[in-house]
Amino acid sequence: MAAFTPPPLPSDDKRWKIVAGTMRKNGFARHALIETLHTVQSSFGYLDDDAIRFVARSLRIPLSQAYGVVTFYHYFSLKPPGKHTITLCAGTACYIKGTDKLIASAEKHLAVKSGQTTKDGQVSLMTARCVGACSRAPVMICDGEIGGEVTDEQMIAQLERWAVE
């Protein structure tokens, strides 16, 4: 079998080298697809068409299959995230303790649906399927910072702090 030459990096952006590194570490094996997509998302924040195309070609996977994997898993996002992200946990324990009201209140305050980013690109509102901090329900995660026993006032105060930045 002729030696496989991976396609050139899409641009000079250094982050592509990290992505290529993940694939090389796995010997450009097809099973490295999800690992590689994780690297793309952690480096770029989301997966765009160019990224999926590049990964699919490098791993010799049909584009349809790569796209199928990207859309199958909730963790992968096709849209760039806002400057800040608030994630409200919608697991059972949080639900029992009133997360649905928090989500409704945040949707109203930001004028977006969950899963969307505000027009000014400032805040993304996300929901999670349990982050495993159930004993502190309801839980919100603001830019990676986890907060428990959240009240509506606390959440709105946080959103307002981001808005005035």
Binding site: A32, E35, V69, F72, F76, Y95, C130, C134
Partner: protein, 553 residues
């Protein structure tokens, strides 16, 4: 690495610890960390250094009663402090050698009295990022004993003898599964650890992976020796970044100590483990879907047989067990199968870790011998329902489980008893609901979960859960009829009987169990257009359709 070397490490750790008069353990698990345990630890370290006392401040995994966090335990007195703030650090360090700080002490004796710690024996006692601390508490002794003194068959036999059943929820006898993989032909076999804890409301596996990662690795290595595998994968949810980093550290340390790699303990046994990240798909908790995901594909399940034990990862024989199952292996090998067999109830042996959450006073992680009565968990360990509310139901098994009503609290917790009650053991989430929860709404919540998490491969699950959701939404909005209820019951039956994998087959459970025990709530919603718990908003419906009410009533 030999047993002698292992003992040397253990001794040197003990000697090192003996230099200190006091050990101050700070719980750094997610719940405590979210309440400032990090700042607290820094303050304790600083003040301890300044005090001149011989104090070791250690960061540990989950201690259990998360609702009292951040938690600090001072050894050797075993004084437990709760709700500790960074400004209390001085008081705690000053009290060492004197009376404990009374206002911070937690009185949780009842909470701990009924618990038996096997899986969680090290949680809260060791620094999860230090392999030597694990070794000092008999860590890796079981692996080396198995490698040097036991045959692979002997290990399988011991697991069979212990009566251990899969802790992921299915409850399949582990010894039987191990035996099948061991007997399967093929020179390449895999061992896989299912750490895709997708059940919302469950966090046992996260706490074990974060608080005692070596225990999982040791369990997997013993399993690999028993079944003849040389390669392992731990599949962890991407939502658990701390677990991933702890496991990565643990794997590196284990390789450095020669406990993973080639020629472990001067034998011919080779084994190494790789971590694979999930990407947020509940269905990947199903074993064939999980294997597809490890192979880099969409996580859709396959019909069984062939079972993964015969044809799994890349078509090779594969042993898949849950995190907690592997966490039980080392103690069983160390203490013998009989020791484990003597704990628990008739057909459910050993202990089980539960994540106790919802409307209960002491939320957190508990480990109890199987067969324990539900009321003991709720009233004694959990401290009852707070705020003067009345217990309504306990939900076990996540979206695949069901709700057990308050009048069945005499039930002993075992695989079979929970199954007979219309729920399942599941991976160990236990969510307590009081009179502020509407059971129709809860059923709708779980069906919505299964609907969005359905992988879409088979029609009963893909279309059935969507229709179930539509019907339940009608009830919640007050537009449902008795015909809808009949249709729902019929649909549940179809989805249960004809779905391809566990997700679809168990998706109707929350509906069926709430219908079984809380039918009056459904009838209230349908006939009287009112929600007894006041959760569902039916404004406008009551007035708009009085005629329907008459006819139906």
């Amino acid at each position: 690495m030999t047993i002698e070397e292992l003992e040397q490490i253990a001794t040197s750790v003990q000697q090192e610890n003996a230099k200190y008069d006091y050990e101050v353990n700070v719980c750094m698990d997610l719940a405590c960390a979210s309440q400032g345990a990090g700042l607290l630890r820094d303050a304790l370290v600083k003040i301890a250094e300044a005090s001149g006392k011989k104090v070791l401040v250690r960061k540990t995994g989950c201690m259990g009663p998360c609702s009292s966090g951040p938690l600090v335990r001072v050894d050797p007195d075993e004084t437990l402090y709760g709700k500790v703030k960074a400004e209390n650090a001085g008081a705690i360090i000053n009290s060492l050698g004197d009376q404990p700080v009374a206002e911070l002490q937690c009185d949780l004796n009842e909470h701990f009295e009924k618990q038996v710690r096997v899986v969680l024996e090290n949680a809260g006692h060791i620094d999860p990022e230090k392999i030597d601390e694990y070794i000092s508490r008999d860590g890796y002794k079981a692996l080396l004993t198995a490698l040097t003194e036991m045959t692979p068959n002997g290990v399988v036999h011991r697991i069979t003898e212990s009566g251990l059943r899969g802790r992921g929820g299915g409850g399949y006898p582990s010894g039987l599964k191990w035996g099948t993989v061991a007997k399967a032909s093929g020179d390449l076999k895999y061992v896989v650890c299912n750490g895709d804890e997708g059940d919302p409301g469950a966090f046992m596996d996260r706490s074990v992976m974060e608080g005692d990662p070596h225990r999982v690795i040791e369990g997997m290595a013993i399993a690999a020796y028993a079944v003849g595998a040389s390669k392992g994968f731990i599949y962890v949810r991407a939502e658990y970044p701390v677990a991933v980093s702890r496991l990565t550290t643990a794997l590196r340390e284990a390789r450095r100590r020669g406990l993973l790699g080639s020629g472990i303990c001067n034998t011919t046994f080779n084994f190494d483990i790789e971590i694979r990240l999930g990407a947020g798909a509940f269905v990947c908790g199903e074993e064939t879907a999980l294997l597809a995901s490890i192979e880099g594909r969409r996580g859709t399940p396959k019909p069984r047989p062939p079972y993964p034990a015969v044809s799994g990862l890349w078509g090779k024989p594969t042993l898949i067990n849950n995190v907690e199952t592997y966490a039980n292996i080392a103690p069983i090998v160390r203490n013998g199968g009989k020791w484990f067999y003597n704990m628990g109830s008739e057909r459910s042996k050993g202990t089980k870790v539960f994540a106790l959450t919802g409307r209960i006073k002491n939320t957190g992680l508990i480990e109890v011998p199987l067969g324990i009565k539900l009321w003991e968990i709720i009233d004694v360990i959990g401290g009852g329902v707070p705020g003067g509310h009345k217990l309504k139901a306990i939900q076990t098994g996540g979206p695949s489980g069901g709700c057990i009503p308050a009048n069945m609290m005499g039930l002993g917790v075992s695989y079979d008893a929970l199954m007979a009650a219309g729920s399942i053991m599941g991976s160990g989430g236990m969510i307590v609901m009081d009179d502020t929860s509407c059971m129709v709404n809860v059923a709708r919540f779980f069906v919505e979960f299964c609907m969005t998490e359905s992988c879409g491969k088979c029609i009963p699950c893909r279309a059935g859960t969507a229709q179930m959701y539509t019907l339940l939404t009608r009830f919640c909005e007050g537009t449902g009829t008795m015909d809808d209820l009949e249709l729902l019951i019929e649909l549940c039956d179809t989805v249960k009987e004809t779905s391809l994998c566990g997700l679809g087959q168990t998706a109707p459970n929350p509906v069926l169990s709430t219908l079984k025990y809380f039918k009056n709530e459904y009838l209230e919603h349908i006939v009287h257009k009112r929600c007894p718990a006041g959760v569902c908003n039916m404004a406008g419906v009551t007035a708009a359709e009085p005629a329907t009410v008459e006819v139906l009533a």
